[in-house]
Symmetry: C2
Subunit: 411 residues, 2 copies
């Protein structure tokens, strides 16, 4: 597979994330699919680390996802193994054997139980993943665990990503500095309800696994579940959060603890940042688009309409062509199947009113709208005029680059 050019929407710089007490990691080249780059990440957590996670809703979930689903109720973790290049999905009995063996190798390397190991795989579907590739590699990783630099794990988990994705927050709780670091990968097969999207967030905050789970489930809705690149949902989507508890503050053990709100807000920022980084690396993306829907009958209805717009190939190709084709936005509203009254509809591109009361706005300025479409960060806002429901969905344009990347991925 040829390397693809870096997304024009890539960040200019990467944050230098601080170490997280209780977390160490190493990456390696296992040669699973890619050559001359890291493709395996081993992360080790100190004893007492709480785990939470959100996994794909696909009916054909990968072997690694099945493994995590089985282990999450335990709420604790000592290690994480992630590989890129092979999703170990739809690999039948061999897939199950492969995850068991990988967990065993990692557990031996870290000196813990297999059920304390979390696993994630991303890449081609349907190719058996040979766990033997991990055997020497994870031992070597375990021998050189370190607490930085954080760009290394972000790089090791990339597939068609054109840049590594990392984000972090430092907050003060009870006068103590608490760290939240996150990494993510994903650039295609991205749709709400997760995506071929892997993301791992670690913190030194002492927080009970069930509280961490509640906060993760809440904030995934407005971050990873509110992005779409191509409406496709992966077999392997995995968002895991690990809390080592090493920050010297009292643990959060209930959602009623007011600090849960504070910590949740910071977590939400990190998740949102990572989700946007994923959209901006959408395969072939040249523009980021925020679709806002307001005035819907409910928030859920607003979300469905926003998603219909953000998923529409016709809307996305028009944006790629810098064409202010708001008629296609009308089309997408119409097809969403949600309450909408054509004759109350208003549409704005940025601050420019293009349609109002079911027709082109008086004073519609084609030149100004066309100029707006040349920007890199676009906003489409639909006002339905029916109620108070609102939602935002984040996407990118649909370009030749997407076809290029996906027409020859496997070969």
């Amino acid at each position: 597979m040829a390397a693809h050019p870096v997304s024009p929407l890539a960040p200019k710089t990467y944050p230098d994330l601080p170490p997280v007490r209780g977390v160490r990691f190493a990456t390696a080249e296992a040669g699973i699919k890619y050559k001359n780059r890291t493709d395996v990440l081993l992360m080790a957590f100190d004893e007492g680390t709480a785990a939470a996670g959100v996994l794909t809703k696909s009916k054909c979930s990968s072997a690694a996802v099945d493994w995590c689903r089985a282990n999450l109720p335990g709420g604790k973790a000592r290690g994480l193994v992630v590989n890129s290049g092979n999703a170990n999905a739809f690999t039948g009995v061999k897939g199950r054997q492969s995850v068991e063996m990988t967990a065993e190798i990692a557990a031996r390397a870290l000196g813990c139980a297999g059920s304390d190991i979390f696993l994630a795989s991303t890449g081609v579907i349907g190719e058996p993943l040979d766990a033997n590739k991990f055997s020497g590699v994870l031992d070597q990783c375990a021998a050189r665990l370190a607490d930085g630099p954080w760009i290394e794990p972000a790089k090791a988990i990339m597939t068609t990503d054109t840049y590594p994705k990392l984000s972090g927050a430092v907050l003060e709780i009870d006068g103590v500095e608490v760290i939240i670091n996150g990494i993510a990968k994903g650039s295609g097969m991205i749709a709400p309800d997760m995506a071929t999207m892997l993301s791992f967030v670690v913190t030194d905050m002492p927080i009970a696994a069930d509280v961490l789970q509640s906060l993760l489930a809440r904030h995934v809705q407005t971050s990873f579940n509110a992005i779409t690149v191509d409406s496709d949902t992966s077999t392997s989507d995995t968002l895991l959060a690990f809390a080592t508890g090493k920050a010297g503050v009292d643990p959060i053990t209930s959602m009623d603890d007011p600090r849960a709100e504070v910590f949740g807000a910071a977590l939400s920022d990190v998740l949102f940042d990572l989700a946007i980084l994923v959209v901006r690396d959408g395969e072939g993306a040249t523009k980021q688009v925020t679709v806002n829907v307001e005035g819907a009958t409910t928030d859920q209805s607003a979300f469905r309409i926003a998603k219909a717009i953000a998923d529409s190939p016709l809307v996305k190709t028009a944006i790629a062509g810098e064409d202010a084709n708001w008629g296609r936005v009308v089309m997408a509203v119409g097809k969403a199947g949600e309450p909408a009254d054509r004759d109350k509809l208003a549409i704005r591109f940025g601050d420019l009113l293009v349609a109002k009361d079911g027709e082109r706005a008086h004073g519609y300025d084609e030149a100004a709208t066309s100029a707006y479409m040349k920007g890199e960060d676009l906003e489409v806002t639909v006002s339905l005029g029916l109620g108070e429901g609102r939602a935002s969905v984040y996407t990118c344009d649909l370009t030749h680059g997407y076809i290029e990347i996906n027409g020859d991925y496997r070969s």
Copy 2:
């Protein structure tokens, strides 16, 4: 807008459809958007013509669709006006005035009531359509109505279509030859539950409007509602059927008449033919793909899974790249949200078994599968192994051509 190359899947020849007793038509250049080509069709029906129709479910339906919806319950028609180049959708009060005026002009030209006129418009959304463009034009058309050639109306209704679409059937009922002729247009914004798809079918069979409506509603499910190009649904989708009753046989007045079945089968053939012609002209299409799902819990569930596969940009780009990426078919099955057991799943490309029991098939032949993918007509069959439900959905690949055509449509 530059002309796009003719689809490689275009038919080599066009049928020379026979005249239909009681139907005459003419086309003209009204200069609505296109230059040097016909863009208006006037069709006239003899008195006593029954009408039936299926219209878009879009919440933002066009003014012409609203007009047809209001007139269909009457069940009778004397004229049809179709224009290409402007959809007269999302044009507010002006749009309503425009359809009223157009119907009035046509009614005057044909000497009938405005409510006997059916209207359809296709093209850009959101641009007001000036009905004055029709005033001289429809009178001229009315003066030179003829019963052929049928390729002319098929041409006049084209937008981004790269070839005209027509199909017909001749059947014998009670020893009398009965004609069914159909035309269609559409090549983007095509999804089940109609599409930017216009289709008009005429017959000389005497058949009651409600029976015609029942047959149309039934057979649209396995034809126009079973195709998808880009999952987008138009504001303007219109399928109308007109029966002049001029064939010298007793009328079909009930679905219990055994001849309803015979006539329905021929109608179904014409609708299916036209629907496939639309898919084969899918914007940028280079391959036609039939997606079969069998062994689902119900037919409806099978349809939803088939549609998820046929709509998936990742499946469609892989097919464009001639890549036997059955892993993406697994992904699409998984995201459909319908009952599926990964470990019972089998997938065939043509006759080649590529996956079975939740993993790559034993004896999977990469070379043979890759060779198969180079064909123009592909078949993907998913067996779920759960029940008796089955459905087929027809689509095309997703290529650079789609991006090309849709990136600069409006300009």
